[in-house]
Symmetry: C2
Subunit: 459 residues, 2 copies
C-alpha cells in the first residue's frame, strides 16, 4: 500500500505541508488526503477585514490556492466540508464527518498532520442564537458577516468587542462601510500588543476616524429583539447594536488533539519539536495556530496565531515529511497593522513581557520622521526600544507612525533576531536618502537614545 | 592656554565632530574653531536635487544647523568663506584664507579635524569657463545652478553627464522643472551601483519619465557659444544643451592633507583608525567623504561619500575628542534612491565586487509584490540576493520596486551586517499584514530561492 499522509485542516499550515511534501514525493510514493470543514482552502484570513470594508473587492481574491488547484496540480485529495471528529492513533485512522451529506468516513494514515488552527475565545454570553453576532476567524465567518451587512434592513450601528488586531481592523472596516462603530475593550487601551504608551496613539487615531473607543469596559451580555441582536450590555450601560463583531482573541483548536492524547504545553498549544513533530507521538505532526513554539527572546513557549508562522511551519513539516530536513527556528513576535493611515509595528517583548521573563530593562521612546524633515510628506514616527540593563541587548521594539513606519519594524526584528545590542545598532549602515529617511534613521536615533538611557542606569 | 580644536570643513562630518566634542567639554576646557570655505554649515547635500526640482520649496530647509546656532548654542567659532590652505603639523598651525576679504590668518591647534569632504571628478574638458556648466556637490553649487535655471533666457535643454545617484536624481529634477533632459552614461546602464540586470529597470523608468538615456557614450568635450555652453560633444554626435550638469562622481578632497603629509590609502582617502584618528599622526583626526573606511563584507578599504557615514564618523570622532570612547564599525554600502515612483535600494557587494573580493557566489532575482497580491496598490518588487557558495552567507542585495521597496533594503542590510546565511534568513520573523506584505515577504521569498540556487551548485 502506498504511504498515506492525512492532513486535518486545509488552510495555511495544512496545505503548505501537503504541497511541500508533494514537491518531494510523487503520487506513487505518497498519497495525500486533506480534510477541511469549511468551504475554502489556503485563504488569507488576515485579508478578511479588507474584504469586509470593500478595499478588497472580491472574496475569491483572498483564496491563494483553490481546492481544484490542490487537486489537479498537486494531486492532493481535498475533501471540503469534512470535519475530522476522531483520531485513533492505535488503528492509525481518522473519522471524518461530511457536514453536508451527514455521512462519516474512516480513513487510514501513516503520517498525520494536525493543522486545525484556532477557535475564537467565546465568553458564555457570546454563545447566542441571536442573528447578527459574528466572529471573523474563517472565510465562512467573513461571508456570513458580509451577507448580514448587505441584507435589509441594513445594519447602522456596529459594536466590535475586543481591541486586538482583528477588532481594530474590523472597526476600521465597518467605519469604511459607513456604519457607526463602537469598539469595546476590557483593558486600558486597544492594541495591547504594544505598550500602553504606544497604544494610546492608536486609540487616538481610531477616535480620529470617528470610532467610539470604550476602554476599561467588560461586556456582560447581549440583548436580542425578535431573534436579532439589538444591544451589547456592559456595567456602564447598554450599547445599541445592529451587528456585533467578536474579536476577543483565539485559542489553539485542540479538542480533537486532546481526545487523542496529543501533548499540550503551558500555552494550550500542541507541543512540537523543531521539525514540527508532535512530541512523543511518532508519525504525527502539527503546525500553525494550534501549536506552541519557542519565543527566541523570552525562551518561553508561546502561541502566536499568524499566517506567516503557519506557512513557515507547514513548509518545514512538509519538507521533513517529504524526506528533507528543515527546522522551525521559533518566533520573536513581529507583527504589523494599520488603522487608516496610522501604521503600527512591534517585535520582541513588551515591557510587561520583559518583566515576566525576568529581565531588567530600560525603555525609551523617540520621535523622529519617516523622511528628511524638509522633504514633503515628512511625518512623525515614534519608535520605542526596550533593552536589557547592563548588556544593552535589544529585547523589543514598537513603532507607531505614518507612511513607511510599520515595515521599518523588520529592521529592528532582524537586529533582535541576531541578538544585537543597542550600542551595536547605532553603527548599522541603513539606507539614507531624503525621501526615505532623515540622515539619522529613526531606528538609529532610537538606538542612540537607548544607549544614553543605559548609561544613566549604570551610574 | 585652553586646548583648541580646529575643524576644517563645516558640513556633516566636521560639525558633528564639533558639536559632539562640545557636548562633553565646555568652553573653558576646549575652544573650537571651524573653517568652512562655503556660505553654509551642516546642510543636506543629498537634498539638493529635490530643491532644484522644486519638491523642496526653500533652500534654507536644507540647512540642518546654521552658523548662528553653532555659534550661539554650541559656542563654536564658525568662520564661513574661509578656506584652509595650509597645515603645519610641526608648528600645530593652519593657514586660512578669507575668500571674501582676501586676508590670511594663522590659527594654532592642539587637535585637528580634517573634514574637507569630496571634490567632483572633472575630466579636462569639464574645466571650462563657459557659463551653464554645473556640479551639484555643495549648496553653493546648487544655488548657482538654480539661478541659471531661473534666469532669462530660460534653459530648455539639459544634458546630465554621469548616471550615478546624483546624475539620476538631477535628471529627474530637471524633468520635473520642465526641461528636455538627456542623461549620458559611459557604461552599459545608469545606476551602476546595482548590477546591470537591476539597473536596466532603472533605465526603463527614466525613459518612462521622458528622459533620453544614452548609455555606452563617453563625453569628449563641450561646445560654447558666446561664453555659454551650447552642446555636449560625444563620438556619436553633439547633444545641444542650454545647461550641463556634471555627475561624474567625486573623490576624496585630500590635496591639503597630502601636502601636510597625512597618509592616504589605496582608495585615495585618508587612512584613519577605528576611532577616526589619522593613522600615525597624533592629534589629527579625519572623517566624512575624505576618508577611507572598512567594507565589512569585502574586508577591503572603501571610500563611500554619503552623509549618513559622515555624520556617524563625525559623532565618533567628537565623542573621542570629547574624552569618551567610540569606534566606527565600517560600512556595508547600503544606499537608497528613487526615480519618480521607482525605488532602488542596495547593500553589500554587487556581483563584480564579490568576484573582485575573491568570493564564489550564486545570485538570484525574484519578483514578488510589496503588498498581498490581492491588496489594492500591490506592485512588483524585484529582489536580488548574492550569497557565498557553500557557506550561503549573504554578500549583497538589491531591490528595485515601487512603494515601500527602497527601505526594505534595511532588513537585508541588518541580515548582512550580522553575517546571516540565506538559509537562516528564510526563518526570519518579519512583519506580515496584507497592506504591507504577502504572507511570504519578498525578502523571505528571495532567501528561499537563494537556498535552492545554492543546492543546485553543490551538486
Amino acid at each position: 500500500m502506498t504511504e498515506r499522509l492525512i492532513v486535518i485542516g486545509g488552510d495555511a499550515a495544512g496545505m503548505a505541508t501537503a504541497s511541500q511534501a508533494r514537491r518531494r514525493r510523487g503520487r506513487d510514493d505518497l498519497e495525500i488526503v486533506a480534510f477541511e470543514r469549511g468551504h475554502f482552502t489556503s485563504y488569507s484570513a488576515c485579508g478578511i477585514p479588507y474584504w469586509i470594508s470593500g478595499v478588497v473587492p472580491d472574496r475569491d481574491l483572498l483564496i491563494a490556492r483553490s481546492p481544484q488547484v490542490h487537486r489537479e496540480s498537486y494531486d492532493i485529495d481535498v475533501r471540503l466540508r469534512h470535519e475530522v471528529v476522531g483520531i485513533d492513533l492505535d488503528r492509525r485512522e481518522v473519522l471524518a464527518r461530511d457536514l453536508d451529506g451527514g455521512g462519516e468516513v474512516r480513513e487510514r494514515f501513516d503520517t498525520l498532520m494536525y493543522a486545525t488552527g484556532a477557535v475564537p475565545v467565546e465568553p458564555h454570553w457570546a454563545r447566542t442564537d441571536a442573528a447578527g453576532v459574528f466572529g471573523v476567524q474563517t472565510l465562512d465567518d467573513g461571508s456570513a458577516l458580509r451577507e448580514w451587512l448587505e441584507a435589509e434592513p441594513a445594519p447602522r450601528r456596529a459594536v466590535v468587542i475586543g481591541g486586538g488586531y482583528i477588532g481594530v481592523e474590523m472597526a476600521e472596516a465597518l467605519v469604511l462601510r459607513g456604519l457607526e462603530v463602537t469598539l469595546v475593550e476590557q483593558s486600558e487601551q486597544p492594541m495591547s500588543s504594544v505598550d500602553p504608551d504606544m497604544a494610546q496613539l492608536v486609540a487616538e487615531a481610531m477616535r480620529g476616524l470617528g470610532i467610539t473607543v470604550r476602554t476599561g469596559v467588560t461586556v456582560t451580555g447581549l440583548t436580542e429583539t425578535d431573534g436579532r441582536v439589538s444591544a451589547v450590555v456592559t456595567p456602564e450601560g447598554s450599547l445599541p447594536a445592529d451587528v456585533v463583531v467578536l474579536g476577543l482573541g483565539v485559542r489553539p483548536n485542540t479538542a480533537l488533539a486532546e481526545a487523542a492524547g496529543l501533548p499540550l504545553g503551558p500555552t494550550g498549544g500542541i507541543r512540537v519539536d523543531r521539525r514540527m513533530r508532535v512530541v512523543g507521538i511518532p508519525g504525527v505532526w502539527a503546525a500553525g495556530d494550534c501549536v506552541e513554539t519557542l519565543h527566541r527572546v523570552s525562551g518561553q513557549p508561546v502561541n502566536i496565531p499568524l499566517g506567516t508562522h503557519a506557512n513557515k511551519q507547514g513548509r518545514v513539516a512538509g519538507i521533513n515529511i517529504g524526506g528533507g530536513y528543515a527546522t522551525f527556528a521559533g518566533v520573536i513576535g513581529t507583527a504589523v497593522t494599520k488603522v487608516c493611515d496610522l501604521e503600527v509595528g512591534r517585535t520582541g517583548l513588551r515591557e510587561r513581557d520583559a518583566a515576566a521573563a525576568g529581565f531588567e530593562f530600560v525603555s525609551v521612546i523617540t520621535e523622529s520622521t519617516n523622511r528628511a524633515g524638509y522633504y514633503p510628506g515628512a511625518r512623525t514616527m515614534s519608535v520605542k526600544l526596550i533593552a536589557e540593563r547592563f548588556s544593552g541587548r535589544l529585547l523589543g521594539a514598537q513603532i507607531v507612525g505614518f507612511s513607511e513606519a510599520a515595515k521599518r519594524i523588520d529592521t529592528l526584528a532582524v537586529a533582535l533576531w541576531n541578538g544585537m545590542t543597542v550600542e551595536d545598532m547605532t553603527a548599522l549602515d541603513l539606507g539614507y536618502a531624503p525621501p526615505y529617511s532623515p540622515v539619522w534613521d529613526p531606528v538609529l536615533i532610537a538606538a542612540r537614545k537607548a544607549v544614553d538611557a543605559l548609561a544613566e542606569t549604570s551610574r
